[in-house]
Subunit: 293 residues, 4 copies
């Protein structure tokens, strides 16, 4: 398929590379053009405008937040104005439920197809084509998207609507942030109680807590190695904001999400902008008067 | 080995049965003698006093809380008064760090060996001999305990002291309760947003959230099937209390544990005494105005 | 002075009446014109468009939220488009810090004066001209506003900027909501402990807790008399949202504000739309399993 | 009346002095005898044992916590063993509801009278005889206590039982700590937003927030002057623990009390032992990245 790809960050670069490997024609666009170079070597074409990414069957966007998606998709120079009728926009970004609904409506009015397909996984999984994809949209649109999503992920889960896909993704990030907070508190407790953190994590992860996130984030918290960020704290903060915004609209009180919100604010107020989001897992130890690792 | 076993609840019955299967001589004691019947058929002897359980190499206690352990272990009719010098007490109960320290000291003064060996796992894992055991005590004592622990669990992790073993166990239950709370909030959010809870759990558990607890507790929360309890809410409440007590002594603020404390209080104040502890995962949905399943 | 007044809700009606009593010429406007009738009898003129309220020295707005203020002030039919150069807009509404900054900028560009003058007090205080006013703006503008503010309040406090005035107001409402939450928890505790709530409130309010809010809100919570609302729950919820939005921008974690946010969500998810905001003070008792009063 | 007085801390010294001023014969006892010197000059007699304080009509205890009260009141050398039948023990300490019940029972068995009479107020109010007293006990016992309580306080409120008196006192301290937390968050917010903290407090305290605590604690938080402590942080922490213990027994979830618990733990884990309890009001600013005053 001929496909445009907008957003070549840590995640997007790997995803675009896997589309190329799968044999698709890919024309890439990034605000900072230098990031496209490695992909050119792998066969990608570079677009100098968003419009140029819209010449084929589909355009995929993988951007940092609602603002970035709005500026790329809406407006006279954006995807909606340039995509052909019945062509497909696949939004892989983690965006608000509200924006997902708006994009669904605007693509519908323009006679275009829209699939929200946010992904679970960190940059290494993106590079390996091993992401988990949650796709939502009209059946026909999801069918068109399927081979592309198959190239970037190990598994695609299909839900009813774009909005549902984004809600599932956001709630998943909430679950992961909750796990980080819980680990952070547990690690502070046992360490102050004289138990070795690494041995503790080994016990946890080889008994009941076998999800990879316990090993990954437990290790990061124990070592304090929050740079470079695999998933930057401001993005984590944004996702918790979006969870709470969705919860506010739906009238669902989420006290644990509120706690996470305050943790991210504390982190950001104390110089956390460049750290991995798991750095919130260090705050319990700091509150407990333990010196940073 | 000749071993006494005190406490034949949902967990203890399975553990004692596995000791029998492994070829140990087991004399069992329970406050309610009727619970010993099935074990007699499997070869156990029944003690009518605690003292009678103390005739062999070791006595194992598996009781509900600090009070039960104190009443069985301390005092003139208790384990410490009746166990021979250099014999071993293995405490598998989930008790406070403070009581663990006290038992360590009192057994030491009596010239007896003491190992704290709390276990991770629910009744089905106890019955299958598939528990995870965290054992702490003096090296020689742990060595004596090893074949017994091997009979009840699939894996034994050795930590430095009895107190450390109990702290690891308590913090593990905190992690599980945190996971239940997080799932409860996430499930309320996505359900009110129109996503099917079972499909959502399938997505979670076949992507990033592969630890069995997500499937087990997610399913319980989604179905609302909290009876009969695999692990009763009052026991979960007790464990969070013990986590907070340890955190208080060690001066470790744990806001997520505080949230769990309040969840358990809400559950218990509204008739939760007989429910599985995962029923706290339904409170977010109730706060969100959703009718019980 | 000749002054327009927009927004004749529970608060605005009393404020406009006091401007009339003080001898000002007042032309009033309300989306629902019927609310103006009582004021006509007291000497007010009625405007049928917002533009007509802008013919004099100043226009005062007293509206429910950001959306209402934006729709009245911005746009071709709004205050900014119709107010004369150097005339004054006094915004008494409790709005976001962000909107306050925007209004400051837009009035500045239009060569108009702008004062944010949010008020503390409930409808009875508005009717009695006994509000407390926090006014922020350029010195000259505040001087022009002073006689008008003196007519509606018993005291005017002057701060540096419109934004500061709105932040002070929002933080004050946060303090009051915190007091309601604290009272709600305390009342649930002592009542479940067998102490009479009214006697308890009498003790509190005649000893250390002499601020009128303790008597007012304690009485409302104890009686459960949340209708009719003096200050409606959706407005309280909005204010906590605005506090948290300001805190988010300023990177200030406010865990108590987060708790209040969740309380309002719980209230709204369970039919609280028409209740007084102090109804959040009943939630602790409900969580404690106490039947509603 | 002839009265023994045990506990000459910051509060007790002032209370004993006022009993002397009112003409009572007072025999004082303190673990550290030096503290009695100033009172001797005012006419007090010094006891060298607890038993000597029990020779008269009543003995008053004003001690730091449950442990201190237990060690003074229970046991062979304690108040209960030495007080005459039908003599009166007035417990002014802020103790747990559970200990209050126990003292009620044990004095009853000894045929002695018991009144719990915890007090509201800080050391300056104790010195001035301006405390507020909440007295609970049998009617006859409270009547005997009345002139003594009248000497130490400006007002005595009578509730049904000793336990009720202690619960009212504890919940009052919870309300004050809540006020400190709320002020701490509000002050962090407005200061980071550019508003002067002292001007802000002036606005608050001369409008709606007229209870003296707002001025007192707001000033302490704004100035950061937490030493010497009027009411030390470990005592505040203890009271919140006792509130939560009572709430636990009564099954009342109190999320704001849980937040306060975590605040005190953070304070104590970071060197707060000697500070005034209002130092928890500085934690919001620290979390917000603001340097200490």
């Amino acid at each position: 398929m001929k496909v445009g790809f907008i957003g070549l960050g840590q995640m997007g670069s790997g995803m675009a590379a896997n589309l190329l490997k799968a044999g698709h024609e890919v024309i890439v666009y990034n605000r900072t053009p230098a990031k496209a170079e490695a992909l050119i070597a792998q066969g990608a074409t570079v677009a100098t405008t968003i419009a140029e990414t819209c010449w084929g069957d589909a355009v995929i966007t993988m951007l940092a937040n609602d603002d970035a998606v709005e500026s790329v998709v809406l407006g006279g120079h954006g995807v909606i104005s340039n995509l052909q009728a019945s062509a497909l926009h696949i939004s892989c970004s983690t965006i608000s439920v509200a924006l997902s609904e708006r994009l669904t409506a605007e693509h519908g009015q323009a006679g275009q197809r829209f699939v929200a397909a946010p992904v679970f996984g960190r940059p290494d999984m993106a590079a390996a084509g091993q992401l988990f994809v949650v796709a939502g949209g009209e059946r026909a649109a999801v069918e068109v998207a399927t081979p592309l999503l198959g190239a970037i992920g190990q598994k695609t889960f299909v839900v009813s609507t774009p909005k549902a896909a984004n809600l599932v993704k956001l709630s998943g990030n909430f679950l992961t942030a909750s796990l980080i907070e819980a680990l952070g508190e547990a690690l502070a407790l046992i360490a102050k109680g004289g138990v070795d953190q690494r041995h503790y994590l080994e016990i946890l992860t080889s008994s009941l807590f076998t999800a990879p996130a316990y090993k990954l984030y437990g290790g990061l918290i124990a070592s304090g190695a929050f740079e470079p960020a695999g998933f930057a704290a401001p993005l984590g903060q944004k996702d918790i904001r979006l969870v709470l915004a969705a919860a506010d609209d739906l009238r669902v009180p989420m006290p644990l999400a509120s706690l996470l919100r305050d943790r991210f604010l504390t982190l950001m107020a104390n110089g956390g902008d460049r750290l991995d989001w798991s750095a919130i897992g260090k705050l319990a130890a700091l509150d407990a008067g333990m010196a940073p690792a």
